[in-house]
């Protein structure tokens, strides 16, 4: 008999009740806040070590791993907080302001689907110019790089959540005079939470994934290595014991990711259930156990409410009333009533918008001219072929991923525990920087299989690409499969449909929207991985295949992982190659997304929606 799934929930949720096999661990935790305390202690240790020892470059040493992990974690947290603030402010702004929406949305859309790693040289140059080349400047630059791989999808999700909100909610709020900070905390923020949570998990994975590239910074001819897990992994490959250090580093990263999953994301996912906008009657058990209880009943959240949120609410509503001269009055003016202010605000916005566009166009034009004038490398002629080959590789990795993910997910549909486990696995493996897998890849595919050097590297590249693609596919498919309503499955069972028919008539159509949504993210992950997988530097050997990832790696020579192409390009030529490569890559991705995937996605969502 099929156990009907609980009604539509994203996959980032965990069960409502803690599964039995995890109970002992949870019960053993003395206080719910322990997870936070542990995290805080780890971070403090990292910061302390940094300030006491103040080292910048050290040889790889295993005993320092926990501290390295703490430092990386601290960097990730700072970047995440910045991303969160960015996402909320930009997302809310775009959802509220139509003019802003038209500018912000396409930018976010492009930024979240292109390989952000290829922007690192440019972003780094800007950040270093802003913050200086000192230790603090370098730290800030690393934070900026991590930020660029975290922020965009989160901002997009805030915007989408606000646009998907039932219009009656805002109307009700307005009719009861709910405004300002009160509206932000009672409506705007809660509406965004489920989407924000799901995207936070994706963003953290993206951040870990790019960590190596963020912690080994290349400025000109100089390599600056910030101590951390990413740089540990980056240097492990060319150290004396590559396999040992690689395994140690990857294991530590895995431990950190899983710890975050269990102490932060899972409880948050249970908690976020309540912010889902579905009014259908369901039996949500209010689980006060474990860490979740801390969020709900803990002293700190309550203090925050009593001393920050509530007073702010009261102060702003009083302020709004005074502003309109309506303290104690019965009519709350529409916001538009303050016409002159609105006009000034709109005008200044318009001017600012144009200013930004003009600066971008002129700056971009000057930059392009400057770079091209530096000389175009003959390698640039390879760009079209390279992009084509790379695209074929990603496509193959994507199809291979689908080939195992769909049967797995369909099979796991009836086993909630396995579904949950798969989502943890996909999340933690998606966090693995490709460099952490090099030891397997190189030793198996290149050294031990007798395929000849070219096909060995090709296979290694495919393997790494699979790792960058398949987890996104899995993650999205898990979300899709858990949204199939139980009654539809029961109905098809009752009709006596065969397995194949059921798959064709119910399951496949129901997961198609998630499939196409996942495709865009999966290809984004693929392009990102490309730069690390088409050129591999391992144990002082350099392997590569022709592709855009390799070209970009060559163009940012000296960029990590440190590679020995043997023939570094002249400085000007490398930046023009980088610019041309990145530009053609973005062009291809934008065109494909706009004209293929977005259309397929819109069609699938429209045709196979599950509400009617």
């Amino acid at each position: 008999m099929n156990v009907p799934l609980q009604p539509a929930h994203g996959i980032c949720r965990s069960s409502r009740r803690w599964p039995r096999w995890r109970n002992p661990t949870l019960n053993a935790i003395p206080r719910p806040g322990t997870g936070w305390a542990l995290l805080a202690a780890a971070i403090l240790a990292g910061l302390l070590q940094r300030s006491v020892l103040g080292r910048v470059h050290v040889p790889v040493r295993a005993w320092q791993l926990p501290l390295d992990a703490a430092e990386s974690l601290a960097r990730m947290i700072v970047s995440y907080i910045a991303s969160l603030l960015f996402a909320i402010s930009v997302g809310v702004y775009a959802a509220r302001n139509q003019r802003a929406e038209r500018i912000i949305l396409p930018i976010l859309d492009i930024l979240q689907s292109i390989p952000i790693v290829s922007f690192f040289p440019a972003a780094l140059a800007v950040a270093a110019a802003l913050f200086g080349g000192g230790r603090l400047g370098m730290e800030l630059s690393a934070v900026v790089l991590i930020f660029t791989s975290m922020a965009w999808n989160m901002a997009f999700s805030v915007y989408e959540s606000l646009r998907m909100m039932p219009p009656q909610t805002m109307e009700a709020a307005e009719s009861f005079g709910i405004r300002g900070v009160q509206r932000f905390f009672a409506i705007t923020l809660p509406v965004c939470i489920p989407g924000l949570l799901y995207n936070s998990i994706v963003s953290w994975a993206a951040g870990w994934f790019a960590l190596t590239a963020c912690e080994i910074l290349t400025l000109g001819n100089q390599n600056v290595t910030l101590p951390g897990l990413g740089s540990f992994l980056g240097e492990a490959v060319n150290s004396r014991h590559p396999i040992l250090y690689n395994i140690l580093g990857a294991g530590t990263l895995m431990a950190v990711v899983l710890m975050l999953e269990f102490f932060i994301w899972r409880p948050l996912a249970v908690w976020a259930e309540r912010f889902k906008y579905e009014m259908s009657v369901s039996t949500l058990s209010r689980d006060h156990r474990g860490i979740l209880g801390w969020y709900q009943n803990g002293r700190l959240p309550r203090l925050a409410m009593d001393f920050v949120v509530h007073p702010l609410n009261r102060a702003t509503s009083a302020f709004i009333r005074r502003l309109h001269g309506t303290a104690g009055s019965i009519i709350l003016p529409r916001v538009e009533v303050v016409r002159p202010m609105v006009r000034v605000w709109n005008a200044s916005q318009r001017t600012l918008g144009w200013l930004v566009i003009v600066v971008l166009v002129i700056g971009g034009g000057y930059f392009t001219w400057h770079v091209i004038a530096g000389g175009v490398s003959p390698m640039a002629r390879n760009i079209p072929v390279a992009i084509g080959l790379s695209y074929l590789r990603i496509l193959l990795a994507y199809l291979l991923s689908l080939a195992w993910v769909i049967p797995t997910v369909v099979w796991a549909r009836n086993h909630p525990r396995i579904l949950r486990m798969l989502s943890s696995v996909s999340q933690s493996l998606a966090s693995m920087p490709p460099i952490a897998l090099l030891f397997i890849v190189v030793s198996v595919f290149v050294r031990h299989l007798n395929l000849g050097r070219h096909w060995g590297v090709e296979l290694a590249c495919l393997f790494l690409l699979m790792n960058g693609v398949q987890w996104y596919v899995l993650y999205n498919m898990l979300g899709g499969i858990s949204k199939i309503p139980g009654d539809l499955i029961e109905a098809t069972d009752a009709m006596g449909l065969s397995r194949m028919m059921k798959f064709k008539k119910l399951i496949l159509p129901a997961i198609l929207p998630s499939l196409f949504t996942g495709t865009i993210t999966a290809f984004g992950g693929g392009w990102n991985t490309l730069i690390f997988s088409e050129s591999i530097s391992y144990a002082n050997h350099y392997y590569h295949v022709l592709g855009i990832g390799w070209l970009l790696d060559v163009a940012s020579v000296g960029n990590n992982p440190p590679i020995a192409t043997g023939k570094p390009l002249p400085d000007g030529q490398s930046s023009s190659l980088l610019l041309l490569g990145v530009a053609s890559l973005i062009l291809l991705i934008v065109i494909l997304n706009r004209f293929v995937w977005k259309r397929l996605q819109a069609w699938a969502v429209d045709r196979f929606r599950l509400d009617y």
């Binding site: 039932p166 009656q168 409506i187 309540r274 009014m279 009261r314 003016p333």
Partner: protein
């Protein structure tokens, strides 16, 4: 006179050609009346309700509340929504409190008030429940408690019973009449939008029939029936039939 709509028209200007929803609407409502707006769907009933609340500005004409022209959201009105419009992440009490806090009420007083009205609509014992744990009828009770708790002089209801099953809506209608008749409760004037003619005849002192495109007033009928009203009585059916035939002519 509590409420006066004077020469109201409403034109929606979206991307396409402008759509005139209402044209030259004139309605007066006295304090203490129970008025139902009836009409086919899309005739502008709900738009009229939103103009009265001040959620939408009229394109031409003026809304007067207690002889003063309305230029914003009227906080002496409270609106009950067809689909409840509750916040799923707030408990019953928190949903009601939100409206009170928006009016700058201090928390202890607001809590007392919320508890009183939650009890009034028969939801005591469910204060800590979340909307998704409640049945449709109970959700609408929360919506009504939220509206009553701000002690409005004018209660506006936008098809409050049409998302509910028949039995639940019968019960809630009776309770609504009790609340309306209760001298201890502030609400004395109700304007309700419905497309159910029997419901209108059962509840209202006065049925305003709106119809046509753009919407205008077709008929304004006094329901001179003693309360409690019996659906099976001959007079009741006569009212229902006459409104039906008027609506059929639109």
């Amino acid at each position: 006179m509590l409420l006066k709509l004077e020469n109201i028209s409403k034109v929606y200007q979206s991307d396409g050609p402008p759509a005139t929803i209402l044209a030259n609407l004139n309605i007066n409502v006295d304090a203490g009346q129970f008025v139902c707006f009836v009409g086919p769907s899309g005739c502008g009933k709900s738009t009229t309700l939103r103009l009265i609340n001040g959620l939408l500005p009229p394109t031409t004409g003026k809304v007067y509340f207690k002889d003063k022209p309305l230029s914003g959201i009227n906080l002496q009105c409270a609106l009950v929504f067809q689909n409840f419009a509750l916040l799923p992440w707030l408990t019953v009490t928190q949903n009601v409190l939100l409206a009170l806090e928006a009016r700058g009420m201090q928390l202890p007083a607001a809590k007392k008030r919320a508890a009183y009205y939650i009890d009034k609509v028969g939801l005591d014992g469910f204060e800590a429940a979340y909307p998704r744990e409640l049945s449709g009828g109970m959700k609408q009770r929360v919506g009504i408690a939220r509206a009553l708790s701000v002690e409005p002089e004018l209660l506006l209801m936008d098809e409050p019973f049409s998302a509910l099953d028949p039995l639940t809506s019968i019960n809630l209608r009776e309770e609504l009449l009790d609340i309306w008749a209760d001298p201890n409760l502030a609400v004395s004037t109700v304007i309700m939008v419905t497309h159910n003619i029997e419901e209108a005849v059962e509840l209202a002192d006065r049925v305003v029939l709106i119809g046509g495109r753009p919407g205008r007033i077709i008929a304004d009928i006094e329901i001179a029936l003693a309360r409690p009203r019996h659906k099976n009585s001959e007079e009741f059916s006569r009212y229902v039939d006459s409104i039906f035939s008027l609506m059929a002519e639109i």
